[in-house]
Every structure is written in C-alpha cells, then in structure tokens.
C-alpha cells in the first residue's frame, strides 16, 4: 500500500466514524435534549400562565380568561392548541370544541398538561399543544450545517494531508528509490530531490553521501576488476591449455581451452589428479621424470599423449612449472599445454603430400628442380630424372650437368635464356629439345622457373619445372595443317570477311577485305574496324546490335577504299564464341550492293516526275480560287447601288420638308394678311361705337355693335383656324414661364366678368396660389375657352372654379400636376354627345346653339393645346339638364425643351 493510502485511509476512516457518530448518535440526542429543555421551559411558562389564570378562575372571570388565553395563543404561534378544563373536566376554553378546530397532531406537536392548583383546591387543567417542529427543524438545520462544515473541514484536512504527504515525503522518497535503483545499476548521475531541513532532507543528504562513497568504491573496484579481468581473459582465452594443481597434484583450476581440448568440464576434473588424462601411450618413465623435475622446483618440458573424455587420443606439448607463494614455498604447479596433435598430423600429411607430388609429377611428366645459385647445387625431382632418362646417382646435380643433357643444337639458346633471366630478371620460359639418355630419343621439353631473391635483391635460388611436351608438339603440327586448310577457304571467298574482337579491333581479314579497303592484312589487323566506313556511327550501331541480338542481316554500310571510292555493302554478322563459350568477337561478311543502289536511284527519278505533275494540278486549282473572288467583288457593287438609292430617298424627304416649311410660311403670312384688315374693322368700329369721334344714334350704335361683334367673331374664327393649322403642322412650341395659377384664374375671370354679371351668375372660386412653370398664354387660352363655355351655356346658377395640385401617381414625392376644374349648373351635355365634344368643327345640338356663337373649334383646340403643347389632358363630365364639369390637368412644370422667358410675379 502506498504511503499516501496509509496516511489518508485512517484519516478518512476516522473521519467517517466521526461523522457517523455525530449524525447517528450525537445529533438525535442533542435534539432530544433540546426538546426536553424546551419542554421544561414551556412547562415553566405554563406554570406562570396557570398562576395568572388562578384569580380569573376563582372569580369565574371567563372573559378575562378568554382574553388571556387568546393573547397567549397569539403570542405563541407555535402553540397549536390551548384548552382549559374545569375541575369536572368540562371545557372552559376555547369556545368551540369541535374536533375539526383542533389541529391534527403532527409528529412534532407535543401536548403539555398543567394542573392548576390554588392552595389545596384543584381549579382545572390547562392543556397546551406545542409544535416543536420549527424549533426542532431549526435545530436540525443548524446541526446539519455544523455537520456539513465539519465534513468540509475534514475533507479539506485530509486533502491537505494527502498533498503534504505527496510533496514532502512520497515524492522525495520515490525519487530516492528511483535513484537507488539506478545506483544499483551503476548509474551515478541521477537527480536527487532537494534536501530540505527536515528528516527527509537529512535522508537525501545521507543518500548523496552514500552515492559518492559507492562511486569511489566502484571506481577502485573497476580498476582492480579490470586488472583481474585482463589476467582472467588471458588465461580464459589462452590458446593453450592451463591446468593448476595443488602440491598434492589435485587440479584446482583449468581454463576453457582445457575443457575444449579434453572434453572435461571444470567441475568434472576439480580435485582430480591429471593422470585421468593418461592414455597409456606415454611411458611411465616420462611421468617419473616429470614429477622429479617439478618437485625440485624446475620446469619440465615434454610431449605427452593423452586421452580425451570421448576416448580420442591427442598429443600435447607441455611445460609444467612450480608456482611459489610470497614465502617462496611451492603453492601450486602450473601446467601449460599445447595441443600438438594437429602438428603431428600435419607432418604426416606433409609426407603423404610429398609422396603424392612425386606421383603427380610422374603422371604429368612434369618434374621440378631447384638450383641453389650460391652453392651451385641442383636438385631434381624423380620425374626429371625419368624425363631426361638419367639415374640420380649418375647425375652431377649441377647446372653444367643439366646443360649436358640438353640437345646440342639448343644448348646455347637454353643457356642464354637462363643466364639472361637471372641477370636481367626476365622470365625463364623456354621450349627445347633434349636427348633422352636412356634411349637417345629426341624429346621436346617446356622449361619454366622462378627466382628467389635475398634481402639485397640478388637472385640466390631458382625453382622451376620441366615438362615433356613431345606429344603436345606433335598435336600442334596436326592442328597447324588443319588450320591452313581453313585459312585458304576464307581467302577464297569473294565477299570481304572480317573478324572483330570484343573491343572492335580487327583480328582477321581475308583477301576480299584487303581489296575493298585497299589496305593490306597487316595494316588492317589490329586497327579499329570503324575506320573503314563512311558512317562509323552507323557501323558502330550495327556492331552493337550484333552483340545485343547475336547477329545482323543485310545491314547497309559503305566501305571507303583507300583511293576514296565507296562501295555500298550489306553486312551479315554474328557473334562467335571461344572454346569456353564466352563471346570472343564478331564475324562479319559483306555483300557488294552497288547494282542494287543503281536500281534504287532510277526509282527515285520516277518519283520526282510524279511530284511535278502534282504541282501543276495544284496551280490549276488556285486559278479557280481567283475566279471566285471576282464574283464576290460584283456583289459588293450591288450593295453600293443600294446605298445610293437610300441617299436619293433622303433627298426626296428633304424636299418634303421643304414643302412643309412653305406651308408654314403660308400660314404665317396668311394669318398676318387675314388679321390686318380685321384689326382695322374691329378697331375703328370700336372707336366709333365708344363715341370718341362723335355721338351716335341708337340705330347707329346697334348697327355698329353688330359690325364690331361680327369682326370679333371673324377674328376669333381666323385665330382658331390658324391655331388649328399650326397645331396640325406641329408649329406650335411651348414657351415656359413662371407664374401663379391663382393670378391666371383671376385674369380669366376678369375677362368674363361682364358676361357673368350680365347673366347674374354666381361664381365660386377655390384657387390657392400655385407656382407654375409652363406656357402661360396657351394655358390661359384653354382656361378662357372652358370658362367661356361654362358661362355661355349656363343661364342661371353657379359656376365653380377649383384648382388643386395633385400627384400624377403615388410614387411622386410632391404634386406635379395642376388640376383645374370648372363646374357649372348649365344645360349640360347628353351622354351620347360627350365623345363629340372635342372633335373639330363639331357643335353639339342644343337649345342654345342659335343663341350662342361658336366656331366649333374651341374644345378641339383646348384638347390639342392641353395634350400636345402643355403635356396634360382635358376631360369632361355632365348630367344633361343639370350641369357640366370640365377638368384640365397639366404638369406644373413643363417638360424639357421649354424656354425660360418671364419670371413669377409679373
């Protein structure tokens, strides 16, 4: 269990016990005590209450009793039930005793009874039911709070302790434990916890001290160990067997080599005598001598034949020496033994080998010799004697003796060769004849030797071989003959043949090759085959292809002759392999293809003529293309004609315009011409009528008035007609000026004032001021027209004139139209006649037609002006016999294009 658990668990356990005790025992008991105390205090209270009740009871003062008890009930809210009984048990209080009025006894309601005594008289019983609930629950709550606080504190304490344990003890201890473990492993560089001033700190310091001490011990130990280890390794790994015996001859130590050699494990031989290894083949005398030697303090050396554990025999060369202690007395015997079994075996093997060598020489007819140059001693192997047919005894074993055996014709060459080889460090490798002494036959021999030098570099020793190659020679001659046959075959070929080695060097050629290249065989062999082609890279590629695929067929190349003429050829080549099967080179044969080439050329010429024909055909096609372009151009011309026609039309149009202009001029001049005489008529008749010139008779006035009226009428008619024609011609332009609509209305009314007054008509005007910017004159014209009609066609009644600014549509921010409404109570207009109102020269049939003068153009003009010049509209409504209403709506501001002439306020 961890330290933390050890510390914390008891705390937790005891804390739990405490809480359990408090909750299970102390709290209930405390509550009970509280209850008892309260009960006691209540009883005392009741005592005093009862005392107070005594005089009231004695005096039968029930009302005062009631007052007191009521007050008691009110003051003590936890008194659920107060009852007073008289001595006979009859209820004195409360008034109503119904069980319903008595509260059900809750679990915390305690009934207290108090007997009321006065002196010896029993006056009655006071029973009070008190609800202990609130008090108890208050108590319980407080105690629970206390408990909770205690719990919290306890928990806090335990946590604090746990943390303290963790920080102060467990962590350092764990670190120390960890450090110890590492220390045990020999790692000294561990971090130790900080040493405080407490016991743990002391521990840490001690640990640190211990670590240093151990470190020092360890380094000393390591050094010693190293030394011992070295010695130990030497002994353990020694290639020789080491056995240490005590003075009684019992083995105390053997090294692994011993075990390896003998097969005995150390534990098997400890305490034993080494004679367990005896094989019995070493004579006992040898052992006696051994013992005598070593006990006398000398070292014994010798060879012993012993037996391994598995029974195998082995030889060992041993030296056994006594080991003395500090005092000089012999403590141990050290035996160092080397296994020489192999060596002995090797000697055997060597001898066997020599025998076999001699045998081999005999079979191969190769002998070996040695010439000691210093002492001029020649030693021959047996085989040489046999080759030379000499007996060892009869041989002088000198260099001269050897020469004697050589064929007289070759003697000089041989001597020269050897001497030169010795002198000039040349290779001695010669084939010469000898005369076999035994039968006098001439034999061929192949001699080789190597020289041995001393430290100074002089040759002191030669060792060589002699091989009888007579059979070989004979075979060679046969081969040569065959070879020359082959050769002549090659030379006979008309195709150039060549052999190229793996490096691209020509190794052999035939006569045909000489001819096609113009170089001799000697010049060709050894050169690079690529040199003789017009396209060396192509030749190289072909060469490589042979290596890749093993052959090429009909590979085209051109060989350049020495005199520069070129021969086209097709090469057939293949790899050839040597005796081992590896690639030795390429064998190539060329085929003259001059004729072939010629034929190819003719074909080419044919192709060229064909191409020319094709070119001619192409030219024809191009010509056709040109003709196409011609027709295109013709189309363009037609388009130009069309354009010209358009221009002519425009000219006609302008002529029309000209006519129009003339028409306008006519109108203008006509208006002037027509109006001028009229002005005179009107003017003069007016003057005369006003009696400015002189008095007039009534008849005269009447007639003149007629004249004037007629003149005015004619003028109006002319004006209207001219207006109409102007409008029709589109000649009238709107001229915008600023003015007040109110003023305009007033002016119009002023104009018609006389007529209105004469007729006795009532005129109502509702015309607010409204600043407008449009064609004042034209608007005035419309207004006068409509108003005039109203006056004309109303005999009696009212004419109402209203103006108001309105919005053209809901989106307009401000009113942008002026609405002028003229309503009258005149004769009205029939419904079917309404459409004819605004038609030119149309007067509606009415009773007033004869009485009222008119051109029939008025409303037509109004509409024309209103819509086309002012940009508004005019509408009419009527009830026949009751009256009419005409509404003129024009934009307050004339649309773009107007001219700004007069200002507002004129």
């Amino acid at each position: 269990m961890s330290l933390r658990k050890k510390v914390v668990l008891p705390l937790v356990f005891s804390g739990t016990l405490l809480i359990a005790y408090l909750y299970g025992y102390w709290m209930p008991h405390s509550l009970a005590r509280t209850e008892a105390a309260y009960r006691l205090s209540l009883e005392r209270h009741l005592d005093s209450v009862a005392e107070g009740l005594i005089p009231l009871l004695l005096a039968h003062q029930l009302d005062a009793l009631y007052e007191n008890l009521d007050a008691l009930g009110t003051t003590n809210s936890d008194w659920t039930d107060i009852r007073l009984l008289d001595p006979d048990g009859r209820s004195l209080y409360p008034l109503l005793d119904a069980a319903a009025s008595r509260p059900r006894p809750g679990q915390d309601i305690r009934m207290l009874e108090h007997r009321i005594q006065h002196l010896d008289a029993y006056l009655g019983k006071l029973i009070v039911g008190v609800d202990f609930g609130p008090r108890l629950s208050e108590m319980k709550k407080r105690e629970k709070e206390l408990l909770a606080a205690l719990l919290v504190i306890l928990s806090g304490y335990i946590v604090a302790v746990a943390i303290m344990v963790e920080w102060v003890v467990r962590r350092p201890v764990t670190l120390l434990a960890h450090a110890s473990r590492r220390l045990a492993r020999g790692e000294f560089d561990v971090s130790l916890p900080k040493a405080g001033s407490d016991e743990v700190g002391v521990l840490v310091d001690s640990f640190r001290g211990m670590r240093e001490a151990i470190r020092d011990y360890q380094s000393e130990l390591l050094q010693r160990n190293e030394a011992i280890s070295k010695l130990s390794h030497a002994v353990q790994q020694s290639p020789v067997s080491i056995v240490i015996t005590d003075t009684d001859g019992r083995i105390v130590f053997v090294n692994p080599k011993f075990t390896q050699l003998t097969g005995y494990a150390p534990e098997e031989v400890m305490g034993q005598n080494p004679r367990l290894l005896k094989s019995g083949l070493t004579p006992p005398s040898e052992y006696e001598r051994l013992w005598k030697c070593i006990t006398s303090g000398a070292v014994w050396r010798g060879e012993l034949c012993n037996r391994k554990k598995n029974g195998e025999l082995y030889w060992e060369s041993a030296s056994i020496s006594p080991i003395q202690d500090e005092k000089g007395a012999i403590a141990y015997y050290l035996a160092v033994k080397e296994d020489i079994t192999e060596r002995r075996q090797t000697d055997e093997v060597l001898r066997a080998s020599e025998r076999r060598l001699a045998e081999a020489q005999r079979i191969a007819h190769v002998g070996s010799w040695d010439l000691d140059l210093l002492h001029n001693r020649l030693s021959w192997s047996d085989e040489i004697y046999r080759i030379f047919g000499l007996e060892p005894q009869s041989f002088g074993a000198t260099y001269e003796a050897f020469l004697e055996a050589v064929h007289p014709d070759d003697r000089e060459a041989v001597n020269n060769a050897y001497t030169a080889s010795v002198r000039d460090a040349l290779t001695y490798d010669i084939i010469h004849r000898i005369v076999r002494r035994s039968d006098g036959e001439i034999r061929y021999v192949h001699e080789k030797c190597e020289h041995v030098r001393n430290a100074g570099g002089e040759i002191i020793h030669s060792s060589g071989t002699v091989q009888d190659i007579t059979e070989l020679k004979r075979a060679e001659e046969k081969l040569k003959a065959a070879s020359s046959y082959n050769r002549s075959l090659i030379e006979a070929s008309l195709d150039p043949l060549v052999t190229i080695d793996a490096n691209g060097t020509i190794t052999d050629v035939n006569a045909a090759t000489e001819e096609v290249t113009g170089s001799t065989r000697g010049e060709l062999i050894g050169t690079n085959f690529l040199d003789y082609f017009t396209e060396p890279e192509k030749a190289q590629a072909g060469y490589q292809q042979v290596f890749r695929e093993g052959f090429v067929r009909d590979y085209p190349l051109e060989i350049r002759h020495r005199d520069a003429h070129v021969t086209p050829v097709l090469y057939n080549a293949s790899l050839f392999r040597d005796a081992a099967g590896s690639v030795a080179g390429v064998f190539a044969a060329a085929r003259d293809v001059t004729e072939l080439r010629k034929a190819e050329h003719e074909i080419r010429m044919l192709n060229e003529s064909l191409e020319q024909r094709v070119a001619e055909r192409t030219a024809d096609l191009e010509k056709a293309g040109g003709e196409l372009r011609e027709s295109q151009r013709a189309l363009m011309n037609i388009v130009e004609d069309l354009n010209q026609k358009t221009v002519e039309l425009e000219q006609a149009n302008s002529k029309l315009k000209e006519l129009d202009r003339l028409k306008s001029m006519f109108i203008a001049s006509m208006s002037h011409e027509l109006r001028t005489p009229l002005n005179s008529i009107i003017g003069f008749s007016s003057i005369i009528l006003d009696e400015w010139i002189g008095p007039l008779s009534e008849e005269q006035k009447k007639n003149l008035a007629t004249v004037l009226r007629s003149g005015k009428h004619l003028l109006a008619l002319i004006n209207d007609v001219i207006d109409v024609s102007k409008i029709e011609a589109g000649k009238i332009e709107a001229i915008g000026e600023d003015f007040d609509l109110h003023d305009l209305i007033a002016e119009a009314l002023a104009l018609l004032k006389t007529d209105i007054q004469t007729k006795g008509l009532d005129v109502r005007v509702d015309s607010p001021h409204l600043a407008m910017h449009t064609d004042r004159r034209r608007l005035f014209q419309c207004l006068v027209n409509i108003l005039g009609n109203a006056v004309k066609f109303t005999d009696a009644g009212t004419i109402t004139l209203q103006t108001a600014p309105v919005r053209s549509n809901d989106d307009a921010a401000e009113p942008d139209l002026a609405e002028i409404t003229v309503t009258d109570t005149g004769i009205g207009i029939k419904e079917e006649d309404l459409p004819k109102l605004f038609v030119a020269f149309t007067r509606l049939p009415s009773p007033l037609t004869l009485k009222v003068k008119g051109t029939g153009l008025g409303l037509y003009l109004v509409r024309k002006i209103a819509t086309e010049i002012l940009g508004g509209k005019v509408t009419a409504g009527s009830v026949y016999g009751e009256g009419s209403s005409f509404q003129l709506t024009v934009p307050i501001t004339l649309a773009a294009g107007e001219t700004h002439e007069k200002s507002f306020g004129h």
Binding site: A59, H60, Q61, L62, D63, A64, L65, Y66, D86, R90, S91, L92, Y93, L95, L96
Partner: protein, 288 residues
C-alpha cells in the same frame, strides 16, 4: 382744554357703547360669579376612558350654559356611592338604582337621560333544554355582579318577585364572562343586557338565545343636587337637550352612551321603588 378732553371722552364712550354694547353690559343680577359645579360620573369604565368621554361633553356644557364644571369620578363604585349618598356632588351621571337609593335623601333630581330604556335579558345556550324561566328553578345562573342593575338586580327581582323562581346566582364579574359561562354550559342561564349581548362576537351570540327580558327601566340620568339653583339646573338640562339636537352634540353623547337624550323627572324612576331591588343589592360586594 380739559373740558374738551372730557367731552371727547364722553362722546367716545357713547360711540363705543353704541358700537360695542355687549362689552359694557352690566353682568346679570345672578351673583357676582356662578360657583364651579362638580359633575360626577359613575365609574362604569376606568378613569381615563371616562374622562375621554366626558371631558368634551363638560366643555360643551360650559359653553352652552356659561357655568363652570369640574369633572370628577371615583375609582370604585362603592366610593362613588358613598360620596353620592353624602350629597357631595352637584351634578351626577349615575345608575338609576342610585337614584332610587338616594331617594328621598339626598334626593337628586333627574334632568335628562337616554330615551332608550334599560332592560335585563336572560340567555341560555341555544341547544339548552331550558325553554322558559320556569326550568331555571334551582339552577345556576351566571350574573356579572350582584349589583348590576339590568343584568342582575332587575332579573332577580323579576324572577323571584314576579315569577317566584329562585335561582343559584354565580357572579362572574363581567357580562362577557356571563355569556361565556352560558355558552360553555357552565351555567344554565346568564343575566345580561341587550347592549352587552350585541357587543359579543358572532360565535358567542350564535351560541345563545334570550329566554326572558325584564321590565323596562329608564336609563341612566344626569341628575342635579337639590341645592343647585333651579336656573342652573334648567340651563344644564337645556344644554344637554340642545346638544342632542346637533350632530356634533349627538356624537359626543353617543359615547356615554346616550343615543337620544330626553328630559326626565323622578316620575320615570318611581316604579323602580317598588321592585324590591334593594333586596338583591349587596353593599359589601367589591369589584376587585
């Protein structure tokens, strides 16, 4: 100059006398100053309450009559009786019984009283087997005190003298106590007055019923000692009657309580003399 001053003074006086006649009017021939009269109120309630009720009335009286009064009372009824019988007080407001008791000596003269008569009532518990007063013979009947006029004396006089019924009285101090005793069944019946019964809570009233009402008796009078001058007596009487005619005066009097003040004479109380109430009166009874 002196003559002018004197003349001026005379004229001034004459003018002033014309302007302010009242200030120069000689005092009435009735003595130099009327004496301060004692006005005693029977201690029906505790002193403070009593003074609170009667002080304003006395003040009003003084204003109306021009007389001066001193409001007095005693702590105990016995003391009051004693002083009353000595004739110590000039004016009294008291129990009608005391009038009878004080007749012919000191012989206080009743002046005014509440028109509403005094009556005693006998109540029983609503579920009581007692149906009429005859069932009460020998039963315990609760009374406030033996000397309570309406609640005890009159009832007992009626029961014994008129109906020849004897009961066992239990004195329980107050009218409220009487009703509670009856309601709780501690007495077979209880004596009280209509007014106090009305003052009880609904629960108590609902628990009781009235089985007998006594003969009517004129209510508490304001009386004057014979030594008081007749004019002053009549002034007081008139003042009270006048007060009863004004809303403010009625309000004051209703606290006494007097609901409708009327003039009375001894004649109104004379019948009481023959009822034998004194037989049931206990002079030794203490309210303590």
């Amino acid at each position: 100059m002196n003559r002018s001053v004197a003349l001026l003074l005379i004229i001034a006086t004459g003018v002033i006398s014309v302007i302010c006649p009242r200030g120069l009017t000689p005092p009435p021939p009735e003595a130099a100053v009327s004496p301060e009269y004692t006005f005693a109120v029977v201690p029906q309630f505790e002193q403070r309450k009593l003074y609170a009720i009667w002080k304003p009335i006395i003040g009003e009286l003084e204003r109306r009559t021009g007389l001066t009064f001193k409001l007095v009372t005693t702590l105990k009824i016995q003391d009051f009786e004693r002083e009353f019988l000595k004739g110590f007080f000039d004016f009294v407001y008291m129990n009608p019984y005391h009038i009878v008791k004080g007749y012919p000596s000191p012989g206080y003269i009743p002046l005014v009283s509440d028109n509403k008569p005094l009556r005693g009532i006998l109540v029983v518990r609503k579920d009581s087997p007692v149906q009429n007063i005859g069932d009460l013979t020998g039963k315990v009947v609760a009374f406030p005190s033996p000397n309570a006029l309406g609640a005890c004396l009159m009832i007992r006089a009626d029961l014994e003298r008129l109906h020849h019924i004897t009961v066992k009285p239990l004195y329980v101090k107050t009218h409220s106590s009487v009703y509670l005793h009856v309601a709780k069944g501690l007495a077979a019946a209880g004596g009280g007055v209509g007014k106090t019964l009305q003052e009880q809570s609904g629960a108590i009233r609902d628990a009781l019923r009235v089985i007998y009402t006594t003969r009517d008796l004129q209510s508490h009078p304001v009386a004057a000692h014979p030594r008081v001058r007749k004019e002053d007596r009549e002034k007081v009487r008139q003042a009270f009657l006048d007060m009863g005619n004004t809303p403010e005066g009625r309000a004051l009097l209703s606290l006494v309580p007097i609901q409708q003040i009327v003039p009375v004479t001894m004649e109104a109380y004379r019948p009481m003399l023959g009822w034998g109430l004194e037989n049931y009166y206990d002079p030794t009874w203490s309210e303590e």
